[in-house]
């Protein structure tokens, strides 16, 4: 697949401290996106790797094309699991100059991987040990001299290999609900930092661009979590967040800015960035917010808890579920409670149902239907389109599949994607 991916597959042997590059044949043999990622996992499965990759459209102007992924064996249940690389990390993964990255083994000392324009540097991370994800992101960006570097890192939870751990994308957590952050910790891999200034070639660039522009016009460009909450069958959380909401942000190429930046260390009416250094946080997990709200948490306290979880590198989804049982308001109490999070396997879902883990993370009824959820994830991870975006509706999935031709010169049948995994 010459178009839509550029560069080889990077194989990182952490134990040996070596990297090598091999041809990316999996996209042609198994299919693009997660299909190739799973094939790579199978190929190197003996080394219990983490596989980083991106979908077919990731990094293009196709609406919602922000999605990358990490595949690994979840320490929660020993099964294969996929965690999303959203925001700008998926696009940067695509542009890093590597079509996919397979990280094998464990390093004897803390290291981080700096991937830039087809160059892979395995660097000493001793000075980053013990840092939370915010400090790690700042330190790497300062050392490398660029604030747009996407940093996938672990905090103290990941370093301790806690089952509550998740990797974080920059400062704002991630959808890693399979504790792949703990796998990074076990590998002594503190972070993966990504930046690429390359370009993607499309088979028919003008046709792809025009079709993507048409799709964006027809997609709803909304702000906040309303549509997502509706798709999940939950009450809207925008009104709950509103008193502290400052602005909305979207992931790469997404017409909907669902992520909501909230300010609680200065008034949300302050527009400039010259005020306090850390005015608040970006709420990226609608589900975590729903659980805390439903648990009776005040919005500001809930956001402080999400900040603490993001900093510590704790999975917000499971953490919020565990915290929801006992609402807190004092900042220091929240910090202590977050530090004590264990992973919540035994904790009850607010509605009383058990968590069912699958390839795409926890399936928690009654939110949406499982069939819809799985279909959105399968299509999303192959094409590189945010599954939440697909689930919330507004983007014509059939037309998305038609773009495989101008993008990569291939035909992809939605039914065939269902059979890929």
């Amino acid at each position: 697949m010459d178009s839509m991916y550029h560069g080889d597959v990077l194989i990182v042997d952490l134990a040996a401290g070596k990297t090598e590059q091999v041809d990316f044949v999996e996209a042609d043999e198994a299919g693009p996106g997660l299909a190739a990622g799973l094939a790579l996992y199978d190929r190197h499965g003996d080394a219990d790797p983490l596989v980083f990759g991106s979908g077919l459209f990731t990094g293009t102007p196709v609406p919602g094309a922000c999605l990358g992924f990490v595949v690994g064996r979840s320490p929660l249940n020993g099964d294969l699991a996929v965690s999303p690389l959203g925001m700008y990390a998926g696009a940067e993964m695509k542009l890093s100059g590597f079509s996919a990255v397979v990280v094998k083994g464990a390093s004897a000392k803390p290291v981080y991987l700096w991937l830039h324009d087809g160059v892979a540097d395995l660097l000493d991370a001793s000075s980053l040990s013990g840092m939370d994800t915010w400090q790690t992101t700042d330190a790497i960006r300062k050392d490398m001299g660029e604030s747009l570097i996407q940093v996938i890192s672990i905090g103290p939870a990941g370093e301790a290999k806690s089952e509550a751990a998740a990797f974080s994308i920059n400062y704002w957590g991630s959808g890693d609900s399979a504790a792949l952050g703990a796998v990074m910790g076990a590998k002594n891999l503190k972070a993966v930092a990504l930046r690429g200034l390359g370009m993607l070639d499309a088979e028919e660039p003008e046709e792809l661009y025009n079709a993507a522009s048409e799709l964006i016009k027809s997609a709803p460009a909304e702000r906040g979590f309303k549509r997502i909450c509706s798709a999940l069958g939950a009450d809207d959380i925008d009104g709950w967040l509103k008193p502290i909401a400052h602005r909305h942000r979207s992931c790469f190429a997404c017409p909907s800015a669902c992520a909501t930046f909230v300010k609680y260390n200065e008034p949300p009416s302050v527009l400039g960035s010259e005020g306090v250094e850390e005015p608040g946080m970006l709420v990226t997990s609608a589900a975590a917010a729903i659980w805390l709200k439903d648990g009776g948490w005040d919005a500001e306290a809930a956001c402080r808890a999400m900040e603490a979880m993001a900093r510590a590198g704790v999975d917000m989804l499971r953490g919020a579920r565990e915290l929801s049982a006992e609402p807190l308001s004092d900042a220091s109490e929240i910090t202590v409670a977050v530090k004590e999070l264990k992973g919540a396997e035994e904790a009850a879902w607010p509605a009383g149902e058990a968590i069912e883990y699958g390839l795409f993370g926890p399936w928690v009824p009654p939110l949406a239907s499982q069939d819809d959820w799985l279909a959105a994830n399968r299509a999303g991870y192959v094409l590189g389109i945010c599954p939440t975006c697909l689930l919330a509706g507004g983007i014509d999935t059939g037309r998305l599949f038609e773009l495989c031709g101008p993008a990569a010169g291939i035909e992809l049948d939605p039914a065939a994607v269902d059979g890929m995994f």
Partner: protein, 427 residues
């Protein structure tokens, strides 16, 4: 299927270049020197792009010391691009002017664009420009008290004695044929071509100056320090490119950057001017391939190339980050924006795959090691510069040092690259 690689690759694939490549390849290739010395900005790297498109790989990048040492005698063509004309003239001095004159009188070809054009106009006769008189012409964009600019105040004016050189339009302009260029293929079709004017002169031709192109119109892809209609009245119909015969040779002064890589038809005009001179001179030159000292141990070459790639990438990433910051640096009379940093680095980055593909031909590990060390230093300088800019400190010293290092390194890199391409071409 579209040409991959973006606008630059599409421009480079213009069929016009095939014709020139075939014509030049039909005999000995001209030996070309590109000026990278004092005052030269980043725009000389566009000459490297142009020469590569034309298949002209016998290229050297020389500074004022080489000119003053008489090195121009080794070359058939001398190209001087944009930058700080004062710094160029002062560094070359009267002796350098004499070297240029000797070069052209003896049958050489001088191509000056923007600053390189101001430098050699006979009408630009104030110190330190007085000794340089290769092209009989003058500049019209000069007056004692230019009107206040509507935009681009930091680029609008340059001092010229008691007067000021000013720029009423900055960006893409349209060029039409002059008497010299009737029948040039680059003007076929629309009858005009697009080029870019980045502070170059609006010209008037002297008696023996032959007009090769005129400013025929302005475009929407430009900034207008003057009201657009006034700029149009001032510029339109005026000479943009003048050719002058001088002894056995030819000198060309071009206001616009005909060598800019995104404008293939303007490239073709420059190529046509070089070719028409060269076809009558090429019997005097001999095609020579540089000697090879034998391939170095390939793993050593691979390691060094990877290190160069690593450091160029690191520096490009910092350079890109600097482009988001509201900062410029005035070095001499030239204003430098942060994006110039990446222009230097990109010129090496684009060519690295070719070096990697031809690593078995690489024979100069000393040069590769120097490049690797140099780009590592550049990465450090770029990061220091970014820290200074971010903290609001004065960053002129760091910027000057970085840009100077980049110029030197890029010339070194391109010298290696063109030597490799020439070996490949001859074999």
């Amino acid at each position: 299927m579209a040409v991959p690689g973006g606008r630059l690759a599409r421009a480079a694939s213009d069929p016009l270049f095939e014709r020139f490549r075939a014509e030049f390849a039909s005999g000995p290739l001209p030996r070309v020197a590109v000026f990278v010395g004092a005052g030269a900005s980043h725009s000389w790297i566009w000459f490297a792009d142009l020469l590569e498109r034309l298949g002209l790989f016998a290229v050297s990048f020389i500074d004022e010391q080489a000119v003053l040492s008489g090195d121009l005698g080794e070359f058939d063509v001398f190209m001087v691009g944009g930058g700080d004309t004062y710094a160029m003239a002062e560094s070359l001095g009267t002796a350098g002017a004499a070297e240029l004159e000797t070069h052209v009188e003896g049958g050489g070809f001088y191509f000056g664009s923007c600053a390189g054009a101001y430098l050699v106009l006979s009408g630009v006769d104030r110190e330190p420009f007085a000794p340089f008189e290769l092209v009989n012409g003058n500049i019209l964009n000069v007056m004692p008290e230019p009107p206040e600019p509507l935009c681009l105040a930091h680029k609008y004016l340059a001092p010229y004695g008691e007067e000021w050189v000013f720029h009423p339009v900055y960006g893409e302009v349209e060029l039409g044929p002059g008497p010299v260029s009737n029948g040039f293929k680059c003007f076929e079709g629309r009858g005009t071509l697009a080029s870019v004017l980045f502070g170059g002169p609006i010209l008037s031709a002297g008696n023996d100056g032959e007009v090769a192109a005129v400013y025929s119109g302005l475009t929407t892809r430009a900034a207008y320090p003057w009201p657009e209609d006034e700029a149009a009245r001032f510029v339109t119909g005026r000479p943009a490119v003048i050719r002058a015969r001088h002894g056995e040779g030819t000198a060309v002064a071009s206001g616009p950057h005909l060598e800019h890589p995104l404008f293939p038809r303007a490239n073709a005009l420059a190529a046509e001017l070089v070719w028409r001179h060269w076809r009558s001179r090429r019997g005097n030159s001999v095609r020579r391939a540089p000697g090879s000292r034998g391939a170095a141990e390939s793993s050593e070459v691979g390691v060094l190339l990877q290190e160069i790639k690593r450091q160029v990438s690191n520096a490009r990433i910092v350079g890109f980050g600097l482009e988001k910051m509201p900062v410029t640096w005035r070095i001499g009379v030239k204003v430098w924006e942060p994006e110039k940093i990446r222009m230097f680095l990109d010129s090496a980055w684009r060519r690295l795959p070719c070096l990697e593909e031809n690593r078995s031909r690489m024979d100069d590990t000393t040069c590769l090691a120097a490049l690797a060390e140099g780009y590592s230093r550049v990465t450090g300088l770029a990061r220091s510069l970014r820290t200074k800019v971010e903290t609001g400190e004065d960053s002129l010293e760091e910027a000057t040092s970085l840009l100077s290092s980049l110029k030197e390194l890029t010339a070194k890199f391109l010298t290696l690259y063109f030597r490799l391409r020439r070996q490949e071409d001859v074999s």
